[in-house]
């Protein structure tokens, strides 16, 4: 391991004055107590700062060797964390390098992340009043963040931290972007196949680009955060992010990316109707998950939603969420053992504030937010014709890609490539993946797709049968063919996406061997 506990010769020389208190910029002044989180390129420690009356801090140690040579994303994260001041945003006390690692010293949030809280004590999700309280705080952070021209881009329970006094903070700006940053080496939409906005494309062009060119895209980015906020709400409500009630064939693409855990839990809650959520909660989430980004409310507007009217204070969270919770160190250790036993489990996402570092995208053509069941169901192209009646809202989202996820390493995809880029891929590799399993799964997926296609064809035929009074049989056939053609087209696209994913995994695998 890169660092051990250090004691002694701690001088009080250079200090960071960018915080209200001055934290020393010298590793010798800190004593590492425990590991509380781990991602692919970062470890989070609990530590004490000796000259600051041994106050407790969290240190995120980022492995710079895994970062791109211009360190742009790391620089951006450090800068963002230094310059943002909001009670619901986790700041950095200071940051400095220790050999090959960057140490970011932050306040220690003893409750850990909501994701780990849920995993350890609330497998069926948090009670609604707690959710409202947490979400309101996060919304307040988002509203500030967006007002500052920043996008967070990785909102999820794993990035929401709770302190012992019940205060809630949004963390991990490893993938955040600023619309005011002059060198937008990041695509705001980090999707290589999405046609919408790729700021990356502008990077090399004349620098005199009109600000409105940048700005016209920003609405999109902000609204993407709102979307993630809605998903996070579901995650808190059910104890799991959406998707886990899907048959394996459908969830497979997601499974490969290893973000979601799989269990029958979602279905259980659904069937037994144990959970009742208020109308205003459902409505609020429904607004966030609108298919049209422009129709999703801004964070500021959302704050005024009735759901957030009678929110409780931090004490409420202390009593109802934090009491009896195992310490964050304990939970981390538990999670580590757990994930060793369960290969399908997410890797490294249990950490304290750094998230999984994987650059991953899940390809789904859209989502149905099922307001009745208060769940989000992904839409695969073949489902689309039949969904209209029984689903509340149909959501499609900027072409193909719905959720983007990227770790704090944040290697920009497809940014202007330079000779030094070979580490990009390496930096983004995830945990070990069993090729055999993946291949088998992919084959299974293909079979299932074929089945679905057949079913759809039958359905179309039966619908066509009813209309036969008005349209000639030939017309019907033509229509059916047309529909099938679109169908095939979208299936083909999807398969291409899966193949890309496979290629990517192969790459990872070969890198790791």
């Amino acid at each position: 391991m890169a660092m051990e506990e250090r004691e002694g010769e701690c001088q009080r020389k250079p200090v960071s004055s960018s915080t209200d208190q001055y934290y020393p910029l010298d590793a010798n002044c800190y004593k590492i107590v425990d590991e509380i989180g781990r991602g692919v390129s970062a470890i989070v420690y609990k530590a004490i700062c000796i000259p600051m009356d041994s106050s407790v801090v969290a240190i995120k140690a980022i492995d710079l060797e895994k970062s791109r040579a211009d360190f742009d994303s790391v620089r951006r994260e450090a800068k963002t964390m230094t310059l943002l001041r909001h009670p619901n945003i986790l700041r950095a006390h200071c940051s400095f390098t220790v050999d090959r690692r960057l140490w970011v010293v932050m306040p220690f949030m003893s409750g850990g992340s909501l994701q780990s809280i849920i995993a350890s004590s609330f497998p069926d999700g948090l009670p609604e009043p707690c959710i409202a309280t947490v979400l309101k705080e996060i919304l307040s952070a988002l509203s500030y963040l967006h007002g500052q021209g920043h996008l967070h881009r990785d909102i999820k329970a794993g990035n929401i931290l709770v302190d012992s006094n019940g205060s809630v903070k949004l963390a991990d700006f490893g993938v955040s972007a600023s619309i005011y940053e002059s060198n937008l080496t990041y695509g705001l939409g980090r999707s290589s196949s999405s046609s919408s906005l790729r700021l990356t494309d502008f990077t090399g062009t004349p620098y005199w680009m009109a600000p409105e060119v940048i700005h016209s895209h920003t609405g999109y980015g902000f609204k993407a955060d709102i979307w993630s906020f809605g998903i996070t709400a579901l995650e808190l409500a059910h104890g799991r992010p959406p998707l886990s009630d899907l048959p394996p064939s459908k969830s497979l693409i997601m499974k490969i990316t290893k973000r979601f855990r799989f269990s029958d839990h979602y279905e259980k809650t659904k069937d037994s109707k144990k959970k009742r959520f208020s109308k205003s909660f459902k409505d609020m989430v429904g607004l966030c998950l609108d298919q049209d980004p422009s129709k999703r409310p801004s964070a500021e507007k959302l704050l005024k939603h009735p759901f957030f009217k009678n929110c409780k204070g931090p004490d409420f969270l202390v009593k109802n969420v934090l009491q009896g919770l195992p310490a964050v160190e304990q939970r981390f250790k538990g999670a580590k053992i757990h994930s060793k036993n369960d290969e399908d489990d997410e890797d490294g996402d249990d950490d304290y504030s750094s998230s999984g570092e994987n650059v991953k995208q899940r390809r789904i053509s859209g989502w149905n937010f099922n307001e009745e069941g208060f769940e989000l169901d992904p839409v695969f192209p073949s489902d689309q014709q039949e969904t209209d009646d029984n689903m509340g809202k149909q959501v499609t989202f900027g072409g193909e890609i719905v959720i983007q996820e990227k770790g704090s390493d944040g290697s920009p995809q497809g940014s202007n490539s330079s000779p030094g880029q070979h580490e990009t891929q390496a930096a983004s590799t995830g945990g070990g993946i069993d090729m055999g399993v993946v291949l088998g799964s992919l084959l299974f997926l293909r079979r299932s797709l074929d089945d679905q296609r057949q079913q759809v064809a039958q359905m179309i035929a039966s619908i066509g049968g009813e209309d036969s009074l008005e349209t000639s049989r030939e017309d019907q056939l033509m229509q059916a063919i047309e529909k099938l053609r679109t169908e095939v087209e979208s299936e083909r696209k999807k398969r291409a996406a899966v193949e890309m994913e496979l290629e990517f995994l192969k790459l990872q695998l070969s890198n790791e061997c």
């Binding site: 250079p14 960071s16 004055s17 960018s18 910029l25 010298d26 710079l64 060797e65 040579a69 211009d70 360190f71 742009d72 790391v74 620089r75 450090a78 800068k79 230094t82 310059l83 001041r85 200071c94 940051s95 400095f96 390098t97 050999d99 090959r100 960057l102 967006h146 500052q148 021209g149 619309i179 005011y180 002059s182 060198n183 620098y207 005199w208 680009m209 009109a210 600000p211 409105e212 700005h215 016209s216 609405g219 902000f222 801004s298 330079s418 000779p419 030094g420 070979h422 580490e423 990009t424 891929q425 390496a426 790459l507 890198n511």
Partner: protein, 341 residues
């Protein structure tokens, strides 16, 4: 009561004028003014600067209007507003500093009648760059001044001034400041200065070759700091491989001192540094007019080098890298120690 009669919206030029008046007030910092009065004015100033930002960037509801931006820009540079804003920045609160930085950044790109009047202004007030560069020495201002500075050096003439000024030497220290956010900001500016305006950079490097590379080698490439070495060797590669710097490159690869440093970097335990070092080292090997002492070093270390390259791989398959490596291996293997007549 005011709300009943909504006052006429201020024009962009009004906003600038009022900002300027308040900045003059803040700049004088009259001790006679009461504190409450002062706070009130500061709050007003903060609001105005936010309004300026809103005109230039728009907000969630509206896009910026070109005409309004042009008016604002024109009024801003008609008088000395930029200087006032820069000088008064330390007196503003954090949120206002950030807004001000974004305003200044945006103004660098605004055109008025297809002219970048910010550039004209800066050329006449080039000493402002001295303030901005020195900002790296102040922890609280560094990130704001640094961001402004990077925007200003988008203008070639301004970049030339900074390159040729005494400030250039200070960057070698700024890059290694202990505070990571500041050090990395300085590194980003340094890189920008040395890569953005090709012809200016080439001219600067050939005129200042001796001191610049002496500093670059000793302070950056041989730094004890991992991140400094890694950034420096990457930037060196970028500079030397740029066609506009070919004269500088030719000179660089004829020095045995330089070769020695690069060979040390090749032996680093950090893969990233090794790879970047290779991209510079290959230039020494590929040089068709190697001076005898360079040949001598390469021949002496031939077996070590060939062994190193034998299992030298990038993490990802990289055809170009493999081709370069093969070329370098071939060059080194074919070397004959030759005596100069």
């Amino acid at each position: 009561m005011k709300a009943l009669f909504k006052s006429k919206p201020k024009t962009p030029a009004d906003l600038v004028r009022q900002t300027r008046d308040l900045l003059i007030f803040v700049d004088r910092g009259g001790p006679d003014t009461k504190e409450s009065k002062r706070d009130e004015k500061m709050a007003e100033l903060s609001k105005l600067i936010r309004d300026l930002k809103q005109v230039l960037y728009g907000d969630s509801e509206s896009e910026p209007v070109a005409e309004a931006c042009a008016q604002l820009t024109q009024e801003f540079f008609r008088e000395n507003t930029l200087r006032l804003l820069i000088v008064c920045l330390p007196k503003l609160n954090l949120e206002t500093r950030k807004d001000a930085t974004q305003v200044v950044a945006n103004l660098q790109r605004q055109q008025v009648q297809s002219r970048l009047i910010a550039c004209d202004y800066l050329e006449k007030n080039i000493d402002l760059m001295d303030i901005l560069v020195a900002g790296y020495e102040n922890t609280d201002l560094a990130l704001h001044y640094g961001a402004m500075l990077r925007e200003c050096i988008r203008h070639q003439s301004v970049a030339r001034y900074v390159l040729e000024s005494e400030h250039m030497k200070k960057f070698f220290d700024y890059i290694q400041l202990p505070n990571f956010d500041i050090a990395s900001d300085a590194a980003a500016t340094f890189k920008e200065l040395l890569t953005r305006h090709k012809s200016t950079v080439a001219e600067f490097l050939s005129k200042n070759y001796d001191w610049f590379f002496a500093e670059y080698n000793s302070k950056l490439l041989e730094s004890t700091n991992y991140i400094t070495r890694r950034q420096a060797v990457k930037l060196l590669g970028d500079i030397l491989l740029d066609r506009s710097n070919s004269a500088v490159m030719t000179r660089y690869v004829c020095s045995r001192d330089n070769l020695r440093i690069l060979m040390n970097l090749l032996r680093e335990s950090s893969k990233s540094i090794q790879i970047e070092a290779f991209h510079v080292f290959k230039l020494f090997a590929a040089n068709q007019h190697k001076p005898p002492d360079i040949v001598g070093i390469l021949v002496t270390n031939r077996s070590k080098l060939l062994r190193l390259f034998a299992d030298f791989k990038t993490d990802k398959e990289d055809e170009q890298f493999e081709a370069d490596k093969a070329q370098v291996v071939k060059e080194i293997a074919a070397l004959e120690p030759k005596e100069r007549p």
